[in-house]
């Protein structure tokens, strides 16, 4: 056996990075590496260390390269970090390129036959005979490919100083207690660990040391958090169509619905879930179910929203409720389907032809994914309109540590729905009459007995009594009221979150940019630049947003798209302040990182 060694790093003598490093694992898609990587992430998390994971995967089932990055951070930073202190290279296709891109001093664990150690002299190499180890530890040759990845978990655990008991626990958790699979994987992992104990010297470059930062926290992805929000919000009709990265939202919901949405008396289902023929039909189901009184939703990504646009305009104009989750990905067109972006901001803000304005929610944390999804159903029924919950692949599909979710105790707000008695008592009811002056009218549900309240919903011009009308005054009345209704929403959508350092310079961001902005703000402060950070959480802009815009001398709008779409919305909404907004952009498909933000803001400041 080759005497592999973890040589002291060429940058030797540098302080050991305790609980503060990134590991990048390069594998082949479909090789089961996701399980191994999640186990490694969980094991570090169980050691009490704040950790985040990013899976950079191809649009492919098996065979193309995939990278997984794990970041441990004692300070609690969870944004993507561009530099990596450890590389685990399992993919022959990308190994040379990965080496070329490596940061000086990185520890490189690689599959021995790849013979990478001659490529650069400023890296610390650890060749591992994976094939030999897997052959010896796994009796079933057809499982070698899958189990092989578990060996690098063992090797990494040894080098990083992770307690093997935590690794074993993480395996059991990840494989949901399937006894045979758990044993097989634990054995392989142990083989890697034992081999490393015997053959590798210890290293002092990066280490995991037990801490207490993660006690009581959960690990979850945003799609699951949104699915749980919808579950607790009592969604009753789901029409959907598969699309990356949104499918797992509904798929996870289906799993939870199996357990939590059966009538205990009859065993029958209290939710209808139908995989439709396309996104158009999904939108039709959502809006008509909402119109008929159900709490309804769909989950899709940008291409799906494009297809749903006509229906969403109908929903806006006829005032039918429904919740539309957009787990955004990199566009335009098919774009990069497995990469993240925030490039559907303007699409969702004004989805459909004609004049339309939609309420959008931008969760930025896992707790908000849960809570905003819950709230979206109230807002949809309260405002009788399509509501967008806009996340992205980074929030939706990556693993995040989070506080456990608080129980949403607030009772459902089913909005202004008239029952049989109320309809009978009401004089001169009109479906689109603004009785309360808030732009929100009273509706009736199909099937209500008593002979009152029936009306014909139409996407064509209508008056306050839902009658067909092409009269300019009727059209203006409806469109004016819809605008008023949107204004009313300002008081009911979640307001912004501030992180102020006492400055007249603003940083404004939303959604998944949050962790990178927080980190960037700290770096900028250390460099002497104070900023006040506003994290936007909804459209329309609330009064607090108005005040912030007026008060700041400059507002750096951080977003993950090319055209500065959110900045455009701000310039349009606050034309008198238009020159204040400076775009800080990151849109290459990777999640945004702190350094990109720091560099761009610093460049603006030096101008």
């Amino acid at each position: 056996m080759t005497a592999a060694l973890a040589a002291p790093s060429p940058t030797g003598g540098a302080k050991t990075r305790i609980n503060d490093f990134s590991i990048q694992v390069a594998t082949v898609n479909g090789s089961g590496s996701q399980t191994a990587n999640t186990v490694l992430l969980r094991a570090i998390f169980q050691m009490g260390v704040f950790v985040s994971g990013k899976n950079l995967f191809p649009s492919n089932i098996a065979g193309l390269p995939t990278w997984f990055t794990i970041r441990a951070s004692a300070q609690g930073y969870v944004a993507r970090k561009v530099s990596n202190e450890m590389l685990i290279l399992m993919n022959p296709e990308t190994a040379k390129e990965d080496i070329a891109k490596a940061d000086p001093g990185a520890l490189v664990i690689y599959d021995e036959p790849l013979q990478l150690d001659k490529l650069r002299s400023d890296l610390a190499y650890t060749p591992v005979p994976f094939q030999k180890l897997v052959t010896a530890s796994c009796p079933e040759p057809k499982l070698h490919k899958l189990v092989k990845n578990m060996i690098y978990v063992g090797v990494a655990a040894r080098l990083l100083g992770i307690d093997m008991e935590e690794v074993k626990k993480a395996i059991a958790k990840q494989l949901k207690g399937k006894a045979k699979a758990v044993e097989l994987n634990q054995t392989a992992c142990m083989a890697g660990y034992d081999w490393a104990m015997e053959n590798l010297e210890d290293q002092d470059h990066i280490k995991v040391v037990r801490d207490n930062k993660t006690q009581g926290l959960i690990i979850i992805d945003g799609n699951e958090a949104c699915a749980l929000g919808a579950l607790f919000a009592g969604v009753t009709v789901v029409g959907w169509y598969p699309i990356t990265p949104a499918s797992s939202l509904v798929e996870t919901f289906i799993e939870y619905a199996e357990e939590y949405r059966k009538d205990p008396k009859t065993g029958k289902s209290t939710v209808a879930i139908v995989q439709m023929e396309d996104e158009l039909a999904s939108a039709g189901v959502v809006l008509s179910a909402g119109w008929a009184g159900a709490r309804s939703m769909t989950s899709t990504a940008g291409p799906g929203i494009s297809l749903m646009s006509e229906f969403i305009g109908l929903g806006y104009y006829v005032e039918a409720p429904g919740v539309f989750f957009n787990v955004a990905r990199t566009g335009p067109s098919t774009g990069l389907p497995t990469r993240t972006q925030q490039s559907d901001v303007e699409l969702c803000a004004k989805c459909s032809h004609g004049d339309t304005l939609h309420v959008n929610l931008y969760p930025g944390t896992m707790e908000e994914c849960f809570q905003f999804s819950y709230d979206a159903f109230d807002l949809a029924e309260k405002f009788q309109t399509p509501i967008f919950v806009v996340t992205d692949l980074d929030l939706g599909m990556q693993n995040w540590a989070s506080k456990p979710f608080a129980y949403p105790a607030k009772p459902y707000d089913r909005g202004k729905v008239l029952n049989q008695q109320q309809l009978a008592d009401m004089k001169d009811w009109g479906r689109y009459k603004d009785v309360d002056g808030d732009g929100i009218c009273y509706r009736s549900l199909p099937g209500t007995p008593g002979g009152k309240g029936a009306y014909l919903t139409r996407g064509s011009g209508h008056n306050a009594y839902a009658q067909y009308s092409e009269k300019p005054e009727d059209y203006l009345e409806v469109m004016g009221r819809l605008k008023r209704k949107y204004e009313t929403a300002k008081a009911f959508v979640p307001g912004p979150v501030f992180r102020n350092q006492g400055s007249d310079k603003g940083v404004l961001a939303f959604g998944s940019s949050d962790p990178a902005v927080i980190e960037a703000q700290d770096v900028l402060l250390a460099q002497g630049l104070k900023t006040d950070y506003l994290r936007l959480r909804a459209l329309p802009f609330t009064a607090e947003v108005d005040a912030y815009v007026k008060e700041k001398k400059v507002v750096y709008v951080v977003e993950q798209n090319r055209d500065g779409q959110m900045a455009n919305l701000f310039r349009e909404t606050y034309p008198e302040h238009a020159t204040k907004f400076k775009s800080v952009l990151h849109y290459d498909g990777h999640a945004i990182d702190a350094k990109s933000i720091v560099d761009q803001i610093t460049a603006f400041e030096q101008k």
């Binding site: 009581g216 039909a281 008509s288 009184g293 159900a294 229906f311």
Partner: protein, 350 residues
């Protein structure tokens, strides 16, 4: 001095079992062209609903875009209606019928709305057996945009302008049978008796009813060179049978003649009595029906009547094993998991 002539007492309008008069089933005034076949269909929907004592408030009417799609405004004002977007009526019916499974769903579409832009939604609604009467008011042209060919226009048929259709027609009925629809019928808007019997049977049916009604467009497709003109359709209409529909509540009181009459019984006990005119046509024989329809189409004829019937297939809410009460009105107590359940979910994620 004139004396008032005593007026004759106005006879009370007849009422149905629910105590409603026919007037209770009407809608707003039609704005379609005078003589439009669609208005004849509307009249029979009103008659059939009245005669079947349909509860008006449970009726929900759906449509897409086009002349046909305007008609839900013209019948049953007691029911709710949803005039949606072009070709998407089926998904509207799907969502609402899932939200409230007690609704009686009527979708009205046209040949353009269903066989071109809405083909995808048509086939999938049929596949899923949405509980609805899906009426296609079929005239072979786009009326509302002034007379372009639709996908049901016969190959070689002419527009008023002289343009000739080069493409073969799509037949909604054989397509529906192919897709597994359990109630497929074709009627001619000029044969109210047949349409009335079929609509009454359709009201009693649980799943998707596909009802293709040849309904000539008097403005754009009623000329001599059209295969969808009144005259042409009347001359080529071959009714398959005399139909009688007996609602479940009346089954005891009605004597069904023995002999040539075939009886099809619905799950609720209602019966359709089918007395054959066209020798050898068997509406419960799926493949036989397809063959006969194709043969008649090749001869340029319209076989009308109950083309195929199989009343045993479960509709979508049943396939999804939904609770009996409307999902729309389920309470928070049944929908929202408890704090203990959230805690259990959170524990599993730690």
């Amino acid at each position: 001095m004139t004396t008032a002539t005593p007026s004759a007492p106005v006879p009370a309008a007849p009422t149905n079992k629910l105590g409603f008069t026919k007037q209770d089933y009407v809608g707003s005034k039609s704005t379609l062209c005078a003589g439009c076949g669609h208005d004849a269909i509307t009249a029979q929907i009103i008659n059939a609903a009245f005669e079947s004592s349909i509860e008006g408030h449970r009726v929900t009417k759906y449509s897409g875009i086009g002349c046909s799609s305007k008609t839900p405004a013209y019948f049953m004002n007691q029911g709710w209606g949803f005039n949606s977007v072009h070709g998407r009526m089926p998904s509207i019916a799907t969502g609402a019928s899932l939200a409230n499974r007690t609704l009686i769903n009527i979708g009205v579409s046209g040949d353009g709305d269903s066989m071109s832009i809405g083909m995808g939604q048509f086939v999938h609604a049929v596949r899923r057996n949405i509980p609805m009467i899906y009426i296609i008011e079929d005239n072979g042209v786009y009326g509302l945009t002034k007379g372009q060919f639709s996908a049901t226009a016969d190959k070689g048929s002419h527009l008023k302008s002289g343009a000739v259709n080069d493409f073969p027609p799509i037949d909604p009925c054989t397509l529906a049978i192919e897709l597994g629809c359990g109630f497929v019928a074709r009627c001619f808007s000029g044969n109210p008796k047949q349409l009335n019997a079929i609509l009454k049977a359709a009201f009693a049916y649980q799943g998707t009813v596909v009802l293709d009604v040849i309904s000539p467009c008097v403005t754009f497709n009623n000329h001599d060179a059209s295969t969808r003109s009144y005259k042409h359709v009347k001359d080529h209409d071959f009714p398959l049978h005399d139909l009688g529909f007996i609602q479940y509540s009346e089954v005891e009181d009605v004597e069904i003649p023995a002999g040539q009459t075939e009886i099809v019984t619905f799950p609720d006990g209602s019966k359709v009595a089918i007395k054959a005119i066209h020798e050898g046509y068997e509406p419960t024989d799926r493949f036989g029906a397809m063959k006969a329809i194709h043969e008649s189409m090749a001869k340029g004829e319209f076989l009308t009547g109950l083309l195929y019937i199989n009343p045993t297939q479960p509709p979508l809410p049943e396939m999804l094993n939904l609770v009996d009460e409307p999902l729309a009105t389920l309470g928070e107590d049944l929908l929202k998991p408890s704090p203990a359940e959230l805690d259990k979910i959170m524990q599993a994620l730690m």
